[in-house]
């Protein structure tokens, strides 16, 4: 099916330019951008973990230098901020996941929080497990 264009006399349509700062236009857009930025925090912790592994492999001195650097106030501040973003990332991810995967049971759609809940559950269990493992030796 073809659509006829309007005539040669084309009234001047007005097109608004979208500003580079469009994301400051509403707090919902801002929340979205922060959520997207939080993946940087994830990447940060991955890199940190890699450095930690390398320090471990290079012996106790290297590891001691590594942990010493971690204790500087800047690093602590950075890691705290990154951790907050990591939490944001995880929570928004778990909450949005059910939208991509509608689960049906008995012909009806399972409510979203019930689909998100196992994610949280697994997170808590895994975190508890790791925490116990890490903390019991000290």
């Amino acid at each position: 099916m073809t659509m006829q264009p309007s005539t040669e006399f084309h009234p001047r349509w007005y097109r608004t330019r979208v500003s580079t700062y469009w994301w400051m236009g509403s707090w919902r857009y801002l929340k979205f951008i922060l959520r997207e930025l939080s993946s940087v925090a994830v990447a940060w912790f991955v890199v940190m973990t890699l450095f930690q592994l390398r320090a471990l492999l290079n012996g106790p001195d290297a590891y001691a230098r590594f942990t010493h650097r971690l204790q500087s106030p800047w690093m602590i501040a950075l890691n705290v901020i990154a951790f907050c973003f990591l939490l944001l990332h995880t929570i928004t991810w778990f909450n949005l996941a059910p939208r991509a995967m509608p689960v049906r049971f008995g012909g009806k759609r399972v409510p979203e929080f019930l689909v998100a809940a196992p994610n949280y559950g697994l997170w808590v269990v895994a975190s508890a497990g790791i925490a116990w493992f890490v903390l019991r030796t000290s």
């Binding site: 099916m1 073809t2 659509m3 309007s6 005539t7």
Partner: protein, 592 residues
Amino acid sequence: MEIRSHDILLVGGGGAGLRAAIAAAEVNPKLSIAVVSKVYPMRSHTVSAEGGAAGVAKPDDSLDEHAYDTISGGDWMCDQDAVEAFVKDAPRELLQLERWGCPWNREPDGHIAVRAFGGMKKKRTWFAADKTGFHMLHTLFQTSLKYQPITRYDEWFVTKLLVDDGRVQGVVAIDVMSGKIQAITAKAVIVCTGGCGRIFPFTTNANIKNGDGMALVQRAGGPLKDLEFLQYHPTGLPFTGILITEAARSEGGYMLNKDGYRYLQDYNLGKPQAKPVLRSMELGPRDRLSQAFVKEDQKGRTIPTEYGSVVHLDLRHLGEKLINAKLPFVRELCLKYQNLDPVTELIPVRPVAHYMMGGISTDIHGATPLAGCFAAGEAACVSINGANRLGSNSLTECLVFGARAGRSAAEFAAGQEIPNGRVLAQATDEQKRLEQRYLRKTGGKERIATLREEMQKAVESGAGIYREQSTLTQAANKLRELQERYANISLDDHSQTFNTELTAALELGYMLDVAQSIVECALYRTESRGAHQRTDFPERDDKRFLAHSLVRRNSDGSLKVEYLPVKITRWPPGERVYGQEEKPGDAIKQAG
């Protein structure tokens, strides 16, 4: 001015228009088909229809029964050959729509589900939740997108039918976006512009229902049929006029007066039962229910509100689960526009102008007496609805007669020459007329809104549910005065780009023409039948008026009313009986 040319041109892109376009494209893929609509097709008023579309579907039902229900519901004004053709095509059309993807409600085993509807003895109304018209229109629109031969002219406002050599050869239309006035010639024109509810102050109809096609055809010399038959839907929300579908009653809703009494039992509509009984009480025909409201109001048993008196529609006993499954849109509308929840509260309703049984006179193939001009849908009058339409017949009508008109037009167009260039002169004249009378005009005094509101008041008081000689005459005089004042209209908007004040002015012109014709026909019909109730002539008069009124406009602007006998084939006129126990053989027995 550019002239474009197509084989077939549709004026209007709603249910009937799109169905006709598809039908023509399927008959002959080599045809070029234009759909010219003043709005984008998915905005057409078909979208608001809620309840359902009727077609015989179940083994316990029969075509004859559907025909009998329709004919008796129309108080025997229906052309019976047309009704027989209609009920025969109906199931196939609805099935075709299913094949195109329409999400009809289903039984648990996957077959089509049907429900009861007013005036029907058996369940035969196919439905898609309570947004049937929406789903049908979107299915038709989306399906129409795959047909290459169909070209759409969205937001082109038709102002005139081009007539030459005794046949319709195209249209003049304003390309609203740019304001350019264009001509499109065609070998056949199909008018599917819908009804004219906006002549009433309180209506379910959208802003775009202004009787465009009816006025266009009348101005081109064609006749309009049965205009005096206007349907009031018994349940509209006060103030907005938003429709609460008949399905609410077919699922079991009760109508209560101010004492909580199911008052319909006082009006020969049967005895109240707990569950809905077909063709009885709340499932009676619409004209009788609206008339019952007026009488109840006269007795002082309705509830006064700031927007007129109302009665109550009670859905509470249906339960939340059923309402959410079968009437979710009703619930949404009540919550949003009346701030109440039908699960726990009563819905205030009153009769609201809804549908025009009358329209452009056509035969059972969709052809009008004007050569080259066809019509279908609410804009047309075949007539299958007679003096009162049964709910869920009109959506099916759009499909059945849209398809028929499309096929007829395709056949007609195949035998036609390309329209001659003489129509170009008419088109240029039309352009001059629009510029002189509307766009470039200065010094006018009348505002569109003022004239429109006075027209609506006059029509409501003169041609409402109950009419009589003096009120009709008053309305006729008022409308004549308004036509004169219309010549003095002034526009604030002289722009060319998307001038909606211009289109509103043109729509007002169409509405005045149709309103005058309605009042004229109502004056001439001195009997009461179906939706046309005269308090001064309360009886049905088959001897003189078992005939359709045909109204034409003379060149001096006056109206001429003639009569065309109704085609009776197998069902001789009888009494309309509702609410009584009918044995299943009755309908067949009554057929000849």
